[in-house]
Symmetry: C2
Subunit: 113 residues, 2 copies
């Protein structure tokens, strides 16, 4: 018996990259903190699974959107800090625009005034 009272499964739908990039715009953060921040900012509506997050970070690093370096957290733990690159900033801008257009189109159909 599944214990998920929520409707489960894939609530990200390809928006994770944009969310992460946006999270980094205020300054470098490490993976775990990025996940916690997004969850908190959406009142726990979005769950960031680590199995989605870390591959996404690696992906974006390879694409040059973010850059990583090892550092230390406020809690004195060894952490991998990610920061936005200029390309990442540009990508964020592009994906944000795309999201706006996409969400508007879907909403126009699904949620008629």
């Amino acid at each position: 018996m599944p214990k998920d009272s929520a409707q489960s499964s894939s609530l990200l739908h390809g928006t994770l990259d944009a969310l992460v990039l946006k999270t980094l715009i205020t300054g470098p953060r490490h993976g775990y903190a990025i996940a916690r921040w997004i969850e908190e900012a959406t009142d726990e509506l979005l769950q960031i699974e680590e199995g989605s997050l870390y591959p996404a970070l690696y992906r974006m690093e390879r694409k040059g959107w973010i850059a990583a370096e090892w550092g230390v957290s406020e809690l004195n733990r060894r952490v991998k800090l990610y920061r936005l690159t200029p390309q990442g900033r540009q990508e964020l801008h592009a994906e944000t625009e795309q999201w706006a257009r996409f969400a508007s189109a879907i909403s126009k159909i699904l949620l008629p005034a």
Copy 2:
């Protein structure tokens, strides 16, 4: 040289089911017409690939959300007409609510006021 001035690739993000269900709420329609309608309703922003549509229709038929029967189009062609089942209506309602919450959450992060 690619002729796509658009940014291509996967603009559906798992919303196709809901879009199709919504399209059927005004009455039965056949696959081709469903695709054309969605594209037109979004000013061609969303492209419904047939390789996405027909598997989706089959998927939803198996789940009991829609039911199909052969008929004839206005242009006198043999068409497979899909209609919404009660479960489909229920599913549409659920997915619409989910979309509203999801879109709101993403937008809150990506498009701050």
